[in-house]
């Protein structure tokens, strides 16, 4: 099938847990590839979006300049962007640092922490390392996001329902069991 819509996925400041949840759809992934063609995604290890994508799944918020760059790239190349999981929708665990000034965070992590061994007393500063942002931003505070799927991670069924509904143009069915978190 030549004209299958394309799907891109990425993990920004996330833990790849949401991507693991995508894999948890198990053999339904075979049905999924009937519906879509995967563009950039950690699943196929394609590093750059090649063509226009119908859907972009974004895991994680933005903690550094590279995250911002990638998110911008996704926004430019995807018709629909979905914030997937609590880090993308709210900043999640990485955003715990938001109440602490960046300088203090770096010092605690690399200089003063009780388990730190850093005899040269320097902060990592290779030009290859992207600069951190002043705080961790949920995706919708950086670019427009079309949908939000909460959960840590959203369950495989939740992701499946959302994707199939979007790709087949049918109304989404998210029963209570899929969106309760206790």
């Amino acid at each position: 099938m030549a004209n299958k819509p394309k799907l891109a996925t990425v993990s920004l400041a996330g833990c790849f847990g949401c991507h693991m949840s995508v894999l948890d759809i198990d053999d339904r992934i075979l049905e999924l590839i009937e519906l879509v063609e995967f563009d950039r995604s950690p699943i196929n290890d394609i590093k750059e979006i090649k063509g226009r994508c119908a859907v972009g799944i974004v895991e994680g918020g933005c903690c550094n300049e590279e995250n911002v760059h990638v998110l911008k790239h996704f926004r430019e190349h995807c018709d629909v962007l979905i914030s997937t999981g609590d880090c993308a929708t709210m900043g999640g665990i990485p955003a715990l640092r938001n109440t602490i000034p960046l300088q203090e965070c770096l010092e605690e992590a690399y200089l003063k922490g009780p388990t730190v061994y850093n005899p040269r007393g320097k902060l990592p500063n290779d030009p290859e390392i992207p600069l951190l942002l002043d705080k961790v931003y949920p995706c919708h505070e950086v670019v427009k996001m079309d949908y939000h799927l909460p959960g840590c991670p959203p369950s495989a069924d939740t992701l499946w329902q959302a994707l199939v509904a979007l790709l087949t143009g049918k109304p989404i069915a998210l029963p209570y069991e899929l969106i309760k978190y206790d």
Partner: protein, 611 residues
């Protein structure tokens, strides 16, 4: 320094270790010891047989109590929107320069503390401030210099040469520079008053007949909500309870409201008389006036009025010779909490607790003060009830409109030549009122304070009454050149500050709304923000627990309705993929300076964005 613990023990003793009087005990400790220190909390808890955390929750709730000593002179500058528009910034700068400290700090010599406070009920004579409980109005930068110099040398508030205000403001027990600015007296509240006439008339009737009279007058609550007073009295009379109470809400904290201050200054007898009549009507023998802490300067005077009424047989036992009818009134002073104007929060505060609203139902008519049936009415309502009994319901219904009989006392402030208090029959249109107050080129009127609504010229033909523009009395006038969204933002600041924090929709919602509205002021808004404000505003309105939260979104929901173009013209469309509120260069600036290198992606704040 006075010892906090021994002072606390002694004050608790003065109130017979009654935990219901915790507010007065805390006020006493704060006044005598300069703060309510941790040792004081321990001691009070022990004396009153309460848990420490109960005492602490009350002590930390109110703005006027402090855990650590503040300056001998605590200067609280009102930062209400009207004050902001009347040169508050210059006063702020003058105080900083004179004292060399920021707001929120105390001078090293322990003499002065600077603080901000929301509306202190002086909007018609802004900018205004409190020094301890002394009010200073129409503050100028020269006065700031004068005040600081005088207090620094004399260390005595009495030495401030403040000109005395009009009317009873110059009464020996008041001696305040506050002015009444009572521009128009009506037939109800500010008409000549002879003590005892209405009460005499009331005592000649059966209590149920009094309720019938008040119902026939169609009197509705003057605090803003407009509940029929007669019905409230009837419910309370019918409710079962060993004791019943009459409470007067004199906690007008709604920004731009100050009419109760003028009533308390010029017609307190009428108000007390209305309370006494209500007591007779419902079978109560105890009354409480909850006086906002900002009006503490009126306390000695009001106590004196009460003493004189007792001496004249208008309070106490066998009032006016009516055997078996006893009624007395105590004044409960507040301590700086807007939410206490909400009736159930006010009752919590009277009971000596933190001013948290209670869940309704049960309504105060069933379970109010100390869980006993309680009538709680506004200052103005008590006055009107007394007059209705004196002059009859037909006299009252001949004024005003069908739904809103009688007169209304308005507090008018802002851009007009005659700000002040006006008692006018209900039904007057906004336009007419603007003429009375000398306002021209008016672009908006805020009706009902921060929790009310902002209306534009297209609605100026609407009348003030419960069917159209209901108001507790606050009318703020904004003239040409004022930024209406900045004004709404100031109202949101107020709600963020005053939310008690009990429920999430109000605690978090007010903050979210304030932040999002701020984007319109800083040019960071996008069109989706309009939708966001609308949705979040509705959530705050529907899901909040008490009246404060339910009205906290009004500054935004109201302006979205009446002044949408004000929002729309500020929406930014820059063609960027990023939201206008996100600036990548700003976001990496800190890391860039720590690392000492430019952002690979976005350059520096000075440089252009690399693509």
């Amino acid at each position: 320094m006075t010892d906090n613990a021994s002072v606390s023990r002694q004050i608790c003793g003065n109130f017979a270790n009654d935990k219901g009087r915790l507010m007065d005990i805390l006020l006493g400790v704060q006044a005598q010891a300069g703060c309510v220190a941790p040792e004081a909390l321990d001691e009070i808890a022990k004396s009153l047989s309460m848990s420490r955390v109960e005492v602490e929750s009350a002590a930390t709730f109110y703005a006027f109590f402090s855990g650590a000593p503040r300056g001998r002179f605590v200067i609280r500058l009102c930062n209400d929107i009207i004050d902001q528009l009347h040169g508050m910034d210059r006063i702020v700068a003058a105080f900083r320069a004179e004292l060399g400290i920021e707001f929120g700090q105390t001078t090293p010599d322990g003499l002065f503390s600077l603080e901000y406070t929301p509306c202190i009920g002086m909007s018609d004579q802004a900018p205004a401030l409190l020094i301890n409980s002394t009010v200073v109005t129409k503050v100028s930068t020269d006065m700031v210099h004068e005040i600081v110099q005088t207090l620094r040398v004399s260390k005595n508030l009495e030495q401030l040469k403040l000109t005395l205000g009009d009317g009873n403001n110059s009464h020996p027990l008041v001696r305040s520079m506050v002015n009444n600015n009572l521009r128009e007296r009506g037939a109800v509240v500010f008409a000549p008053y002879t003590p005892g006439v209405a009460l005499q008339r009331a005592l000649s009737e059966q209590p149920v007949e009094l309720i019938r009279i008040v119902k026939a007058s169609r009197l509705r609550g003057r605090g803003g909500a407009g509940f029929p007073t007669g019905m409230k009295w009837e419910f309370t009379r019918a409710a079962a309870g060993e004791r019943k109470f009459i409470v007067c809400n004199a906690d007008e904290g709604e920004p731009g409201t100050f009419k109760d201050r003028v009533i308390l200054t010029e017609a307190p007898g009428l108000m007390f008389e209305g309370m006494t009549i209500a007591g007779y009507a419902i079978g109560a023998s105890e009354g409480i006036v909850y006086l906002r802490g900002e009006y503490a300067y009126l306390l000695p005077y009001l106590e004196d009025v009460l003493a004189k009424r007792r001496a004249a047989g208008l309070l106490g036992r066998d009032i006016l010779g009516k055997s078996g009818f006893k009624f007395d009134i105590r004044i409960q002073l507040g301590a700086g909490a807007y939410v206490c104007g909400e009736e159930t929060a006010l009752l919590s505060s009277c009971e000596g607790k933190a001013g948290n609203p209670k869940t309704r139902p049960p309504f105060p008519a069933q379970k109010g003060y100390l869980d006993m049936p309680t009538v709680i009415n506004n200052v103005e309502t008590h006055c009107a009830a007394a007059r209705i009994v004196e002059n009859g319901p037909t006299w009252f219904t001949s004024m005003g409109t069908k739904s809103s009989s009688g007169t209304k006392v308005f507090s008018v402030s802002g851009d007009c030549s005659r700000p002040g208090v006006y008692e006018i029959p209900f039904g007057i249109t906004v336009e007419e009122l603007l003429t009375h107050v000398g306002a021209s080129d008016t672009i908006a009127v805020q009706v009902g304070g921060a929790s009310g609504r902002m209306i534009g010229p297209s609605e100026f033909n609407r009348p003030f009454c419960f069917d159209h523009l209901a108001t507790g009395g606050s009318v703020m006038v904004f003239g040409k050149g004022r930024d209406l969204l900045a004004i709404s933002h100031a109202f949101m600041d107020f709600f963020v500050e005053e939310s008690c924090g009990y429920c999430t929709p109000c605690r978090a919602g007010t903050r979210l709304l304030q932040e999002r509205l701020g984007r319109f002021l800083t040019g960071q808004a996008e069109s989706a923000d309009l939708d966001y404000l609308e949705k979040t505003g509705k959530t705050v309105k529907t899901a909040s627990r008490c009246g404060l939260g339910q009205t906290a979104a009004n500054p935004i929901l109201g302006t979205l309705q009446s002044f949408r173009p004000e929002y729309e013209r500020r929406i930014k469309t820059n063609g960027s993929v990023f939201l206008p509120s996100f600036d990548p260069r700003k976001a990496v600036a800190v890391a860039s300076s720590i690392a000492g290198r430019e952002s690979e992606q976005f350059g520096t704040q000075k440089g252009g964005v690399k693509q």
